[in-house]
Amino acid sequence: MRITLNNRPEEFRNDEITVSDMLRIKKYTYRMRIVKINGRLIKRDEYDDAIIRDGDNVQMLYLMSGG
């Protein structure tokens, strides 16, 4: 499937994946982040269940300590 991840095209072998799958496949580890699929907020405790499908627009931002 093809999705848009932070305004860039991304391709995955699977037809659909969870947010946790995407973080694992892309080797996005550890950090605190905000994830939105098609503008909808996916909370941290929903990463294992929230499904990303072909054509979805996924937006992600990292939250770095410091303030």
Binding site: M32, K36, Y62, L63, G67
Partner: protein, 201 residues
Amino acid sequence: MKFSEIKSHLAGYTVGIAGAGGLGSNCAVALARSGIGLLVIADHDTVDGSNLNRQYYFIDQVGMKKTEALKKNIERINPETRVDIYDTELTAENITVIFKDCDIIVEALDKSVMKQMLAETVLGTWPERPLIIGSGLAGYGKTNKLKVRTIGKTLVVCGDEESETSDELPPMAPRVGIVANMQANAVIEILMKRKDHENNT
């Protein structure tokens, strides 16, 4: 547009500021100078000597509650900006009460876990309400790495989104101040668009 017009428009708004450290104190002062009507500021910390390398406090305020010290400093700069303070640690429960009446919320917390908790609570509770996040400001130099990114209509992130504070990469006045002022600038930009919108309808 004249500053007097900008100021009188901004006087009609309430801005919530979650945290009164490097980001929150500097952002609050910039917004007060610009004439925001009401600032709602929450923090449970006290001013420490080590904060003075970047936070908007004075050496004779060490030991004071940050919320009280910041309210005093803002009163000395622009008494027309009202300041409501909450000396409390933010939680998913109290965030929805403290910032209930805010037009915009500024995330100015220190720890990434707290940033995420606040962001998920605010975005989950009020999907239409603008949230201005600060992320990535540690160290010095690399000014061009600092940027503003808008996600959807209401989420704005200011910072480089990569530099995390540590013993070897401390937060310092210039970069923290830049990001805090980027956040204040984003707040003003969003609120001024509402004026343009009013004028066009």
